[in-house]
């Protein structure tokens, strides 16, 4: 029997060291076990046994107790004390059939006891049994190692941080994700005690899970990390119990920053969607606006037809009556007022039609003051009815220039009607003209759009009322077609858009503002002289576009 012969039989062949100072005993043991699938080793002293055990790492040692120099108990103690040999299983051999000795041997870490004189079958049976146990244990250990490897792979690859704590909340295990989430490496974390946990919520969750032996879940935890921003995380602490005994707990930490990032991205995306939606809506509004403008054309045709027929009837009826009835002074005035009323209504309807068409101006040299005086004349009756006083400050030095007097009259009729509606009853309508060198503050939104600059010498017309003024948000919108602050039926919402249109055609600007002392003010600006020749030569060109 040689060690070498057995060596290549592979690791699975159990090796057995037999130790006895009496060669006859060794022979019996050898005879008992030879021919079986064991690798057999022999030592005839305690010292030799330790030496062989260290070198060959036998699976099983059959150890005689009664030996000179070093007895079996001492050999066993030393074997168990040495990490290299402690795993070898020891079966004591002795003639001493003494319970105390057996107990002492088992206390020293022996697994069994065989009494002398040996029964070879018994020896073989015991050795077989223990070798089977050893093999099973080894396989079990192997499987455990594999399971641990799998477990480690899983834990290492997990996105969730996993921390194992014992019953005292001391860290016994951390996976790489936990190191990342907690912002500390395993070395620093292992052995960390409960008191060291931050934040308070995490500490409390672990304490409760261990104390109450139930799972604790905390969402939206903010984990402080040294030198870095807090990390948002969800926390789950599950107690681990073996039978009824509390072993500790598993702490699972889920990093929410990725999810937060995704959520933030989603937020951004939905912001972008909202923005596109807004833009779409605006585009839609513009389309609607365009459609409205187009419908103004149709509306104008319809209204013109519906209104102009009755007007024609009244006109001709009036003319007929004036022919056949003898008129005195008052009657003539009445007829004249009625004629004015008809022409005013006609002007309004014409404005509608004008608005829907590109029309050239019928320009002639005219005085702004005269346009204003004529326009005031047309609303004279209404002003008196409403007890609205008129204050005029018409500068004599305002130069004449090219205007379409009818259209400009329409402009001021609109502004006067608006002012009267704003004041309702009792108030003052102020109309002023002047030539000024404008400052930055004199230029409203439209004036800037038209291209007037500070320092320009311009004709300024102001129409002011003492009404409630205009809501700031409405100041520009008032010029949108169909925008109206008047009650249903009081205005078409077209007045100011037509007005601005006409003013723009004249190369002028019109802006609305609130007077410091209350009430609204329309400010119109015109250049003193206009290149009227050009206006006539190129009637197709849109002056507003210049």
């Amino acid at each position: 029997m040689t060690e070498d012969a057995a060596k290549h039989e592979g690791e699975r062949t159990p090796s057995i060291l037999m130790v006895d100072d009496i060669p006859a005993n060794l022979r019996i043991l050898y005879e008992s076990l030879k021919g079986r699938d064991y690798r057999l080793l022999i030592a005839n002293s305690g010292a030799q046994a330790l030496e062989v055990a260290k070198r060959a790492s036998p699976d099983l040692i059959l150890l005689d107790i009664m030996m000179p120099d070093m007895d079996g108990f001492e050999v066993c103690r030393r074997l168990k004390a040495d990490p290299e040999t402690k795993d070898s299983a020891v079966i004591f051999l002795s003639a001493l059939d003494d319970a105390a000795d057996k107990i002492r041997g088992l206390e020293l870490g022996a697994v069994d006891y065989v009494s002398k004189p040996f029964n070879p079958d018994e020896v073989a049976a015991r050795v077989d049994t223990h070798c089977k146990i050893l093999l099973l244990e080894r396989e079990l250990a192997n499987r455990n190692r594999q399971l641990e490897l799998v477990r480690d792979r899983i834990l290492n690859s997990m996105a969730e941080g996993v921390v194992g704590v014992d019953a005292d909340a001391r860290v016994r295990f951390v996976n790489p994700a936990a190191e990342r989430i907690l912002g500390a490496d395993a070395q620093h974390l292992l052995g960390r005690r409960l008191e060291d946990w931050e934040p308070e919520q995490l500490k409390r969750a672990i304490t409760r899970a261990l104390a109450e032996r139930r799972e604790i879940v905390v969402d939206g935890l903010s984990l402080p990390r040294a030198g870095r921003e807090h990390l948002p995380a969800d926390l789950r602490v599950a107690p681990v119990c073996a039978s009824d005994r509390l072993e500790g707990a598993v702490v699972v930490l889920r990093d929410l920053s990725d999810r937060r990032r995704v959520e933030a991205k989603l937020d951004r995306t939905s912001d972008e969607l909202r923005q596109s939606h807004r833009e779409l809506k605006e585009a839609q509004m513009q389309l609607i606006q365009a459609a409205k403008l187009e419908s103004v054309g149709r509306l104008a045709a319809g209204v013109a037809h519906e209104v102009k027929n009755p007007l024609a009837i009244v006109q001709l009826g009036l003319d007929y009556l004036a022919q056949v009835v003898e008129l005195d002074g008052t009657s003539i005035e009445v007829v004249n007022d009625m004629q004015h009323a008809i022409s005013r209504a006609d002007t309004v309807v014409r404005g509608l039609v004008d608005f829907s068409r590109e029309r050239d101006l019928d320009l002639k040299p005219y005085s702004m003051n005269r346009i204003l005086a004529d326009s005031l004349q047309l609303v004279r009756y209404e002003l008196v009815q409403r007890q609205i006083a008129v204050e005029t400050a018409l500068s004599e030095t305002v130069p004449s220039r090219m205007y379409d007097p009818d259209k400009m009259q329409q402009v001021f009729l609109n502004l006067f009607m608006n002012a009267m509606h704003a004041m309702d009853r009792v108030g003052t309508l102020t109309v002023a003209t002047e030539t000024i060198v404008v400052a930055q503050d004199d230029l409203g939104t439209h004036a800037k759009q038209v291209g007037f600059l500070p320092g320009d010498r311009l004709i300024r017309v102001r129409v002011e009322d003492t009404g409630p003024g205009i809501q700031p948000q409405d100041l520009e919108r008032l010029f949108d077609p169909y925008f109206t602050t008047k009650r249903q039926g009081e205005g078409s919402g077209l007045g100011l858009s037509v007005t601005r249109n006409i003013v723009t055609l004249h190369g002028g600007s019109i802006d609305l503002e609130n007077r410091p002392g209350g009430g609204a003010r329309a400010v119109l600006l015109f250049r003193p002289a206009q290149d009227s020749a050009k206006e006539r030569d190129e009637p197709k060109e849109d002056p507003a576009g210049r």
Binding site: L311, A312, L316, G317, D346, R350, V353, D354
Partner: protein, 125 residues
Amino acid sequence: MSQKKILLVDDEQALTRMMRLNLEQTGRYEVREENRGANAVRAAREFMPDLIFLDVMMPDMGGDEVAEQLKEDPTLKHIRYAFLTAIITKRETGTGAAEISGETFLAKPVKREELLAVVEELLGD
């Protein structure tokens, strides 16, 4: 001097009436009203006017269509006609009548003197 005959075609009865009153009041014209566009040609054949006023926008048959039929009828094609319209503004017609592509237009609301002036112009050759 015999009275000239004028046919007024407009779906607005009050309007043809006012026009008729004003025209008749001068004592120079015999006037007939027709308030349905579709009846205009028949009325023209019966009445054989010297001048016809045609409203452009009428529900059953527009003035332009009536004019086409007048021109196609050998017995009627010599009759002068003018359109009445609510859509064209005074600026486009100027005061009184306007010629647009050879046709005469009168914008509503038309004044008595404008009406008489146009009638005189169209009939007085």
